[in-house]
Symmetry: C2
Subunit: 294 residues, 2 copies
């Protein structure tokens, strides 16, 4: 029996509807959410991300302000700009767009973001508070994974889970959120011996390794929920003899869907849900500002 395919756009659509309603309510109360995104120089990834955020925020009634700093901005200058945004009551959320220029440490700068305005949940102290079980704001991708798990209906307490890939942005925060929800979590990485011996035990398999085709049907327990966070750009030959780019995850989707109970596609799985979680975090942060200014 083929797996249920979890449509990330449907899940994201539901969250976006909630976000739009919450945003309208906050605006009516005179607390319109306002997200400031700090961009240093013009790094490609940051520029693309900013454009997409601006569009998403506009669609849902959230103000978006791009704070553009020059490429030769110093760490101190950037830190001061973040402090100004922290202190500005009109700003309800702050994003620091990456990458930063060489010589500016991202974690030190993320650490400057007010804990209650850190809508990406990247301030090390916010990570630590998630870890302590007292989250203020958690990282978006990890929240997206948890949202998709909720969508499948499986219970996390006592769940046998495996997280493949232990990067700081996805794998580790996801593992922490799953541990926090009382799942049993095996944290696997590129040095894991006999990966399948872990993944085949897992009723929930989250993959964030950044390696196309890493997870095959042999890695998956029949009936398991498989969440593919990988995004890999493959060059494939096109009909006209040129090459074209195809986006795939870390999971061999066609083979694994024959074994799994539920699976997220790439694209159209975790990606749109992660964007939606950023917007939801933006609403949560705006609500927290409202409570603070009352």
């Amino acid at each position: 029996m083929a797996a249920r395919i979890i449509d990330g756009n449907t899940v994201a659509g539901r969250i976006r509807t909630e976000v739009a309603a919450a945003s309208a309510e906050l605006t009516e109360q005179g607390h319109k959410p306002r997200l400031a995104a700090v961009l240093v120089g013009q790094p490609h990834a940051g520029v693309v991300y900013a454009r997409s955020q601006a569009r998403n925020c506009e669609a849902l009634g959230i103000d978006y302000e791009l704070v553009q700093l020059s490429e030769d901005c110093s760490a101190d200058g950037l830190a001061r700009r973040i402090e100004t945004l922290n202190a500005d009551p009109a700003i309800t959320g702050i994003i620091l767009l990456l990458p930063l220029p060489d010589g500016i440490d991202p974690h030190q700068m993320q650490h400057r973001i007010d804990l209650y305005k850190d809508v990406e949940g990247v301030n090390p102290a916010n990570i630590g508070l998630v870890f302590y079980g007292q989250p203020i704001i958690a990282p978006c991708t990890a929240l997206a994974v948890r949202e998709i798990v909720t969508e499948t209906g499986i219970a996390l307490r006592g769940c046998r889970a495996a997280v493949v890939g232990q990067g700081a942005i996805v794998g580790r925060p996801t593992a922490v959120l799953l541990v926090q929800a009382d799942a049993t979590v095996c944290c696997c990485n590129e040095f894991t011996d006999e990966l399948a011996s872990y993944t085949r035990q897992a009723d929930l398999l989250v993959v964030a390794a950044g390696k196309a085709g890493l997870i095959t049907a042999d890695h998956v327990k029949p009936g398991a929920v498989v969440i593919d966070v990988g995004i890999n750009r493959l060059s494939v030959p096109a009909a006209d003899g040129k090459t074209t780019t195809r986006i795939v995850g870390d999971v061999d989707f066609e083979k694994v869907r024959e074994v799994a109970g539920a699976i997220t596609p790439v694209p159209g799985g975790v990606g749109p849900v992660t964007v939606a979680m950023l917007l939801r975090n933006t609403i949560e942060a705006a609500r927290k500002q409202r409570s603070r200014t009352r």
Copy 2:
């Protein structure tokens, strides 16, 4: 073949010798380490801990200052006292003794401790930085586990590890440090289904569940390194008809030592090494202060 028994007192003794030498060197340079421990009221555990710290510090040439606040101290008052210690250049390390009075959140207060003076590594931001792979100071028990692993000579990269118990003080920080060292780590808790299916795969088994006798020989892979962080007080009948207290770990030591390759006893295993790591962190923090004041 019976397991090698890792004597925590021997490991701790070696570290204490290093700490005493480093402390003498810092003192000679006019930077004598000075640890401030903040105690609110007279909670039994805090008082006992302070007494033992004072003794340990004195023995190794570290100044120890007990900052006693009254039981009815407010959260703001405590926060201000921590800020004063943060700003005092003579104070190189700060410990906040627990428990705090009801109504004062420990994590919020730990978050006030200067990252570079946080010798217990409990500030949520320090936890987050460990998590990001950029530690300033890591939690002592997790460091003690890693020190013992080093002592056994097993390599952590690619190591099959299991951590049983996911408390915020021991289990979770230990799991993070092991992940950070590229081990494959299964995080098990009291809801884990078929615990032995995880622990029997592990070449490194760390147990911090707080449940006497939880780990039996059947849970252990032959030849594995077993590190027992549990401390349980059992009442046992004494010869005179009264009862006496016996301290045991989470591991059935006598049975498991027949199977394991190496094992830590309780008491005399992880405990003394943890105390030694606090002292080593105190030296590290003092060195960091010295660099900052140069």
